[in-house]
Amino acid sequence: MASDPHDRSVKDDEPGRDLRSERDEVLQRFTRGSRFAQEFLQDYESLEQRLRTLEGENAALRSTIEADHAVRDLLRKIETLEVEKAELISRFKSAEESRSSVSSRMTEIELEFANLANLFVASSQLSSSLSPRAVARRIKEILAQLVGAEAYAMYLANSDGTELVPIASEGVPGEKLAPVRIRDSLLGEVFTSGEARVNEDSNPSQGSPEHPAAVLPLELDERNVGVIAIFATLSQKARFSTVDFELFRLLGRQAAVALVAASLFMRAEHKLPGLEAFLDLSV
């Protein structure tokens, strides 16, 4: 008769010896597996924790690197800006130099213009006066208003050429206005040599009739006919300027001419010469 494989369980609930050991083995394995699983979980958790830590560190490092990049970018920008700043400063300096040079040139031109205006006005005033009195008044105005003379006199030589006779003056005491001998006097020396004497070593406002600040010869037709003596200037005029020397030259060449022309015109009773006087000019 065939045996029933299930028969044993039916007959006996107790596991067989093999099964028990198998069960124990399974249980042991299970226990071990459970322990492994627990250990694995712990490891997993610890690794997860480590991962989080590393991720945190990584994020921190990344932000540091980013910050470094930003700093580098900023530094590069600063460098570029510094270069631009230096360039702008140099351009500004060069523009400032040009501006200053233009400005000083403008000042020079303005001064030159002012000097030319002084000379033009002096010349036109001299040549437009038709009476000796008016000419003398203009000469005095030029000396007082343009040169800044305070005490001065104009002298003409007498007919025999021995004395210089004062014909107009301002600010000079009467007793100091006597005719001056040409020989042995500073005024006579200037008259004879035709060369102006300007005392450039001392303050012209401190001059006196004995020590004039400037003496200028008066020319007419390449002859010296007199002198102008500036004894002292106004107190604020501490020295003669370039335009003053130009005015001295202008007075030297034009004052006597204007005086003589006005004198002849007056003598002719302000009559204009007839047309015939101009017909044979050969020009």
């Binding site: 105005e141 800044g148 005029k237």
Partner: protein, 125 residues
């Protein structure tokens, strides 16, 4: 460009010519001349001026009287006045400033100084 008008009061034709020359350098400035104080008042009665430049020593009516008259005229009481004096006439200068003059220039005059003073008072660049 704004245009300004200037009245120059000076009895000496030479100084007047010089002042006209100097102030003609200011592009926006129109210059009118007067021989003395009376002539100036006549011109001030018929026109308005932005600035007056006047000498102190003049016949008929001097600069001090002119300053006084201009300051008492409601139409011109605020018009800037520049006086021209000599270094020695400090009393005149003080008197002119007390009467209402705004600035002074000392003789011998220099064109750049005249221009600068007028520009400053008119606030022209």
């Amino acid at each position: 460009m704004a245009e300004y008008s200037c009245l120059i009061v000076e009895d000496s034709p030479m100084m007047r010519q010089l002042l006209v020359f100097a102030l003609s350098r200011v592009k926006s400035l129109r210059v009118t001349e007067a021989d003395d104080g009376v002539d100036a008042l006549r011109k001030l009665a018929s026109a308005r001026y932005d600035i007056i430049v006047t000498d102190i020593n003049m016949p008929i009516m001097d600069g001090l009287k002119l300053v006084k008259r201009v300051r008492s005229d409601p139409l011109h009481k605020d018009t800037p006045i520049v006086i021209i004096t000599t270094e020695g006439s400090q009393a005149d200068r003080q008197r002119a400033l007390q009467l209402g003059a705004n600035a002074y220039i000392t003789k011998p005059i220099q064109a750049p100084q005249v221009i600068a003073t007028v520009k400053e008072l008119l606030k022209i660049q």
